[in-house]
């Protein structure tokens, strides 16, 4: 009988004091060095795609804003982009600007949140307290505009639900000036701090080749010198009219990701200011009578990366299929490239560095222990192609040929 040597396995999760959500990482360790990493999910799976098919088109944005509490403006926007593509409508210009303002304010608070948590993970609680203190005025602004600190529910098919009254525009600009100053100070403090340099530089490096191979998105990709950003590559809402630049850093380590996020925060504040000043007059929504049959794709740049929504309509008042691909779904597998070979103490930080969001990522895993079936890459690919072919047949689309793949 062959003797197998069991390597020690370190479990992180499902309820880990550092992580806020349920997730389970299995670290195979050799002394202090991590030699393999595995992730188990579906603790947080709520079946949002299934629930979405029981709701009407106008109710779904409120559901998808609860996919993830921190991307609660980007998910509805991606969904709305998909539905507006099916219906062939464009929201009024003022609504497009309001969407940009809400999304960028969300990015500001999300990135500051991450910087704070990153400081907390390395035991530098001063950064945590600072960043979260500077984030509060942004939440107050969002509450003033939409009525809620998070889960804004501000977009709807054909426009926006809440307008930005002219009276509060001076207040927004004043508050943003304060936030900008504080963020600049925080950025300088972080970039000049020798402690943070020593702790974060050269940790959890994700090379450019690996970033492309794992198809990572958002600040994770931009920290590895892959300057992709949906806002620039395929502008939606009013992003095409605004003057801003895509931030990227070549190093690929945790420090580079922190720098990308901090500089992006400043960039976002600039965008909000410009959008508020340029805010055109006019209606904020058009009336949408019905959604014709068809299918549409929408994407938006969430604080963590590209979020993608696919919606299919059969002409009724409900989506018959709604598919969500959140950014963490592609960012989480990149741990295999960035964590293996690192020390255990650095791995928790590297896990946090992509700002993973498990409530977005969750998929349902069914374990069939009776039949001992194992699917590999090729059978899964075949199953996926069969399913696509079946769906295309159902909706009467032309049959796909092999060269289309």
């Amino acid at each position: 009988m062959k003797k197998t040597i069991q390597k020690p396995v370190l479990a992180v999760g499902p309820f880990h004091p550092l992580q806020e959500e349920m997730e389970y990482f299995q670290l195979t360790v050799d002394g202090e060095i991590v030699t393999d990493i595995d992730v188990r999910i579906s603790y947080n799976h709520r079946g949002i795609e299934g629930i979405s098919e029981t709701l009407q088109f106008d109710q779904v944005p409120y559901l998808v804003s609860r996919v993830c509490g921190i991307c609660s403006a980007s998910h509805p926007l991606a969904y709305i982009n998909a539905v507006e593509e099916i219906a062939g409508i464009t929201a009024p210009e003022r609504a497009q600007y309001i969407r940009v303002i809400i999304n960028e304010l969300e990015r500001v608070h999300s990135h500051l949140l991450w910087v704070g948590l990153g400081g907390h993970f390395i035991g530098y609680d001063t950064v945590f307290m600072w960043a979260w203190k500077y984030r509060e005025p942004v939440l107050d602004l969002l509450e003033e505009i939409t009525g809620n600190r998070n889960n804004y529910g501000n977009v709807r098919v054909g426009g926006c639900r809440e307008d930005i009254p002219d009276e509060i525009i001076p207040k927004i600009l004043k508050e943003l000036d304060v936030v900008e100053k504080k963020t600049e100070m925080l950025t300088k403090a972080v970039l000049d701090d020798p402690v943070l340099h020593a702790r974060l530089k050269g940790v959890g490096i994700l090379s450019k080749e690996d970033a492309v191979k794992y198809a990572v998105t958002g600040p994770t990709a931009r920290g590895s010198d892959v300057a992709i950003d949906v806002r620039a590559d395929d502008p939606y809402a009013a992003y095409g009219d605004l003057d801003w630049k895509v931030i990227s850093q070549p190093e690929g380590d945790v420090f580079a990701k922190a720098v990308v996020r901090l500089l992006e925060t400043l960039e976002s504040i600039k965008m909000v200011k410009e959008a508020v000043k340029k805010l055109p007059k006019g209606p904020i929504a058009i009336e949408v009578k019905e959604i014709p049959p068809g299918e549409g794709c929408g994407h938006a740049e969430a604080p963590r990366g590209e979020t993608f929504h696919y919606v299919r309509s059969d002409g009724g008042n409900r989506p018959v299929r709604h598919k969500i691909r959140a950014p963490s779904y592609v960012n989480v597998p990149s741990f295999r490239a960035s964590c293996i070979g690192e020390h255990i103490a650095d791995v928790t930080l590297t896990l946090a560095a992509v700002d993973p969001c498990y409530s977005c990522t969750e998929r349902l895993a069914v374990v069939d222990s009776h039949h001992n079936l194992v699917h590999d890459y090729n059978t899964l690919l075949q199953m996926s192609r069969d399913k696509t072919a079946r769906i295309r047949k159902e909706i009467g689309a032309p049959e796909l040929k092999m060269e289309d793949f």
Binding site: F15, P17, E20, G47, I48, R66, C68
Partner: protein, 143 residues
């Protein structure tokens, strides 16, 4: 009131359990610790183990995977303890009530384990930090 209940009312230490939330309530809980609200001045502190905790802050609907783990955590918490259900999902599953992977609100699962559990509800999506602080104060003054 026994001395155990009396001691529960002062400086409660809380353990945060996410049983399928969207992060929003969790972020707002962490927000309570930061300079604007700073609940540590009341002696309320987040701890890393349920064995050290006087109260559980439970957020989110209870999914199939989370239910046995929530019961396990409740068993590990030293009694008497208070269970705070934070947010609309934890109180009555909210918008996810017909999800196929959702098996019920937090109080149902906790009552299966201990019918006499002390459960306090803080509704809202997400509840503001002020609402959470007010919920804790109300629950503790009701004991």
């Amino acid at each position: 009131m026994g001395w155990k209940m009396w001691s529960l009312k002062k400086s409660i230490w809380v353990f945060h359990v996410n049983t399928g939330a969207c992060n929003n309530c969790d972020i707002e809980i962490v927000n309570c610790l930061t300079p604007k609200y700073d609940i540590e001045r009341f002696g309320i502190k987040l701890v890393g183990s349920p064995r050290h905790a006087d109260a559980l802050l439970v957020t989110g609907v209870v999914t199939r995977q989370a239910a046995p783990r929530l019961k396990e955590i409740y068993r590990q918490t030293s009694k008497p303890c208070v269970v705070f259900t934070i947010g609309a999902c934890a109180c009555d599953t909210g918008i996810f009530h017909n999800g196929y992977h959702v098996i019920g609100p937090v109080d149902k699962i906790i009552r299966e384990e201990d019918p006499n559990a002390i459960i306090a509800y803080v509704p809202g999506c997400p509840p503001k930090p002020e609402a959470m602080i007010s919920g804790v104060v109300k629950a503790l003054s009701a004991i």
